[in-house]
Amino acid sequence: MTVCDAGGEREVSFLHNALQLAQTRSGDGAHTFSEHTLKRQCDPEFLELLDEKTADVDVILSLGCGIGVQAIAERLPDMPVLPGVNTSFMGMTKESGVWDERCAACGDCRLEDTAGICPITRCTKGILNGPCAGTKNGKCEANKDMDCAWILIYQRLERLQQLDKMRRYYPPRNYRPIPRPRRIVSKVDTVVGEGDG
């Protein structure tokens, strides 16, 4: 399944056809290709469906995101897994065929203070305290087609009458060597009551 034209049954068939064509044209090797689409690759229950299909397979090319590739690798310890897409960012569709980055999953969310506009992903420099000197007519000096995130933030704060938030100073982000949480646990350890055992 896909919502961003990366992966999904159509992309899988397209890649299948392209591989087949490449093999025919190169004239070497006698690989056989097969295709299969899962609803999600990141859940072990879906991956169980792969077990039978991969009995005589030498390598898997996954069109899942980085998580999908790793989930297959975990499920099939003896199987090499190749990534078929280069997962770039968490974004949203602007229009059919255009996607914009919106979140870096930095674990340090400031959206409450920046009027719901993320300076980490939308500012080229990812700076936290107002625009740099490179902003011109509301556009970014690095790419004149892209809006300056800080101008957007300013305008929106103004609309919301929260311009005082612009006056605050935000300390630099935490770039410690291992800032990532690596695991989130939301379940609660329940205490096993007496008499249960």
């Binding site: 399944m1 919502v3 397209f14 064509l21």
Partner: protein, 702 residues
């Protein structure tokens, strides 16, 4: 192991059922003809196949091609966009160009039970045709000297040439239908005594209604049906200089136009309501006006006096009052508005009724019509069926044909002692009007009218007025069809991730999110362009007709197979649109005398060519692949845009595979001033050069 699409083997689109809906045109047609199908075939230039479809649903398509009142066109949803498809004219084109008159009808007699058909109008002829096809010995008994009923004695020759009718009658004779003209049936008992096991009464409605005014019996007053019958059977009644026709139906118009053709200079039609209420076909009325006939609205004759060999007709002006039971406003005389006019002849054409001999012993209902069970056409007498105008009162040819067909099936049931099963429609009817946002995006394409004789030429004699389309005109007209009811559907909801691609790519804003967050593609809005089908990342969307789903893949497979058999690999494979492009001749020479090494894969709009199809074409070993579509001339929106998107995507992967991206090209009509055939020639040259270069490179390497 090369198993494509192993994830949902049971869900492969080619294995899925036909989910198409009945379009409004077909639903409106008394014969339920598959109009969408044959119009579609005409738009692809497949005229013989179109005729086959027409003949499956209509025993006498040539007759309908001239005189059908085309309720299908009234129901056509294109009229919400601009004007309806000219369906009748397209049928005319199909029967003329497809060679309907050459079609042989054959029938074997399989049953012993003889059936008598009383009357040879459209209902009788249709009943005879189908009964004979089923295998019964059939006799048609006709009171007049010639066959055809109202088709012969009612409809003037300029609307239905007699040779068309003669061909149909001859076809019936060849099938073995026994025909007895000049045979008026007065008693059904006699027919049963003669050994007929079933009788179909289809005696039409030939008795004109009376005006009910003073002086109606005067010399010089004639009724419409009698007048038309006399003229159509070869008499030339002398009418004088000034003729008035009373009435506003098709018979009144026919009578007036016939009088004009007999040389009468001043013909006026007196109609008691206004133009909007006139039941006659507006086109016929228009043509009558063009021929110099005057139509006086809101006027009715009050009394007639014969003086000095002339008719002095006192008329009264009318105004429209309260609506009557038919929904039309009832005309009311305006007091003191009487005026007199002189005419030589007055033709009363205010309606007709059947006249059934009492000795038939069938129950007569309102308006002197024969009472029948509408689903079985049985009368109160065992073995006696009735249909056509005799049952409905004056109606259309198509309705009569439908009644004849129904009678044949029910008579078969009766003679085989079967319980008549009600006909159940297997498919759902398409309902709902087009939404304004859909209409806005549909390309407006002008309706092409067939040529017709100029009014000053045609009013002189009984030559057929309407001429037939030319090839190009017919194809362009047929291309306007919206193909209602064969659009896209999300067949595999379990695959749909609600990614909204369909909603975003649809040029007509058809897919929408419902309240529960599920995407819907309403069948009554979809224009069947196929863009979402080719773009859906989950392959969850298909077109409703299996043929539309498989077409490109099947044609591609066919090309691959024939290439494998001939052992010479195709040099170039081209996906070429079948709508118009070839039919109108722009690329016709490409299609007909395909260049050596160029294999054409016919597609129904290039928007249905998917990226996989393009790669598969290269997979066959082709040196070049092109896609040729109608571009700006396409009846659908954005098709070329999406083809270009897909081509760019494929080009990106061709490079790494080692295939030069310029080996894949798009040709679209109307986007460039150049002749697409010329562009294609260049492409062929270019590909040949590339091949030569690679051969040389290969030799240098070795």
């Amino acid at each position: 192991m090369n198993v494509a699409n192993t994830s949902y083997p049971e869900n492969r689109p080619e294995n899925t059922p036909d989910h198409s809906l009945i379009p409004p045109c077909q639903y409106a047609c008394p014969l339920h003809m598959d109009i969408r199908e044959y119009v579609g075939l005409v738009s692809q230039g497949r005229i013989m196949e179109a005729l086959q479809v027409i003949r499956t649903g209509n025993p006498f398509p040539s007759i309908c091609a001239y005189v059908c009142t085309h309720p299908c066109e009234d129901a056509c949803r294109r009229s919400q966009v601009d004007k309806p498809i000219a369906i009748r004219s397209l049928k005319r084109f199909a029967v003329e160009f497809g060679g309907d008159r050459m079609v042989l009808a054959e029938a074997e007699t399989k049953h012993a039970e003889k059936v008598a058909i009383v009357g040879s109008g459209p209902a009788g002829l249709a009943c005879a045709y189908y009964l004979k096809k089923i295998g019964y010995p059939v006799t048609i008994l006709e009171a007049h000297s010639e066959m055809g009923g109202m088709l012969r004695v009612g409809i003037p020759q300029y609307r239905l040439p007699r040779e068309v009718l003669d061909i149909e009658v001859q076809r019936l004779t060849r099938m073995g239908v026994e025909i007895r003209t000049n045979t008026r049936v007065v008693s059904l008992d006699l027919l049963f005594e003669l050994g007929y096991k079933a009788i179909f009464i289809t005696i039409g409605a030939h008795q004109s209604l009376r005006l009910g005014i003073d002086g109606e019996e005067s010399l010089g007053v004639i009724d419409g049906a009698t007048f038309l019958r006399e003229v159509n059977l070869g008499l030339k009644p002398s009418l004088g200089r000034r003729v008035a026709v009373v009435g506003g139906g098709n018979v009144a118009i026919d009578a007036a136009r016939t009088a004009t053709r007999l040389g009468v200079k001043k013909v006026s039609i007196l109609y008691r309501r206004s133009r909007a209420e006139m039941p006659a076909d507006p086109k016929e009325a228009e043509e009558a006006l063009e021929e110099g006939i005057k139509i006086k609205y809101l006027v009715t004759p009050f009394s007639i006096k014969r003086e000095n060999k002339r008719l002095n007709v006192t008329c009264v002006k009318m105004k429209l009052g309260e609506p009557d039971e038919s929904g039309r406003q009832r005309p009311v005389p305006v007091k003191g508005s009487e005026f007199s006019e002189e005419f030589d002849t007055l033709i009363a054409a205010i309606g007709q009724a059947p006249q059934t001999p009492d000795d038939f012993g069938v129950r007569i209902g309102r308006g002197s019509t024969i009472q029948v069970d509408p689903s079985t056409l049985t009368t109160n007498r065992a073995g006696v069926f009735a249909g056509g105008d005799a049952v409905t009162g004056p109606a259309t040819v198509t309705e009569a044909l439908a009644a004849g067909r129904l009678a044949a099936l029910r008579i078969d049931d009766y003679l085989q002692h079967r319980y008549p099963l009600p006909v159940k429609e297997a498919k759902e009817k398409l309902s709902g009007d087009l939404l304004p946002e859909t209409i806005e995006m549909i390309r407006k394409i002008e309706r092409v009218e067939p040529p017709s004789l100029a009014s000053e030429v045609r009013a002189k004699d009984f030559e057929t007025i309407e001429l037939v389309y030319g090839w190009e005109q017919a194809i362009n007209e047929a291309r306007r069809c919206l193909r209602c009811g064969v659009g896209a559907e999300i067949l595999f909801q379990d695959k749909c991730a609600t990614c909204l691609t369909c909603l975003r790519v649809c040029p007509y804003h058809v897919p929408f999110l419902d309240e529960s967050g599920t995407i819907r593609i309403p069948a009554d809005q979809c224009q069947a362009c196929g863009i979402c089908v080719a773009e859906c990342p989950a392959k969850a969307i298909v077109l409703r007709k299996p043929f539309d789903r498989r077409q490109v893949t099947e044609e591609l497979d066919h090309t691959v197979k024939s290439a494998a058999e001939s052992k010479t690999k195709p040099l170039i494979i081209g996906f070429c649109c079948q709508y118009g492009l070839f039919g109108t001749g722009t690329l016709a020479r490409l299609w007909r005398g395909a260049k050596a090494g160029v294999s054409i894969i016919p597609v129904l709009c290039v928007a249905k060519v998917e990226t996989s199809h393009i790669l598969s074409a290269f997979e066959t070993g082709a040196e070049g692949v092109f896609i040729a579509g109608c571009g700006e001339q396409c009846a659908r929106e954005n098709t070329t845009y999406w083809v270009q998107q897909r081509v760019e995507k494929v080009r990106k992967v061709l490079g790494p595979i080692g295939i030069e991206p310029e080996r894949l090209q798009v040709f679209a009509l109307g986007t460039a001033a150049e002749d697409p055939a010329e562009e294609l020639d260049k492409f062929v040259e270019q590909i040949s050069a590339l091949r030569l270069a690679s051969v040389i490179k290969g030799e240098v390497k070795s």
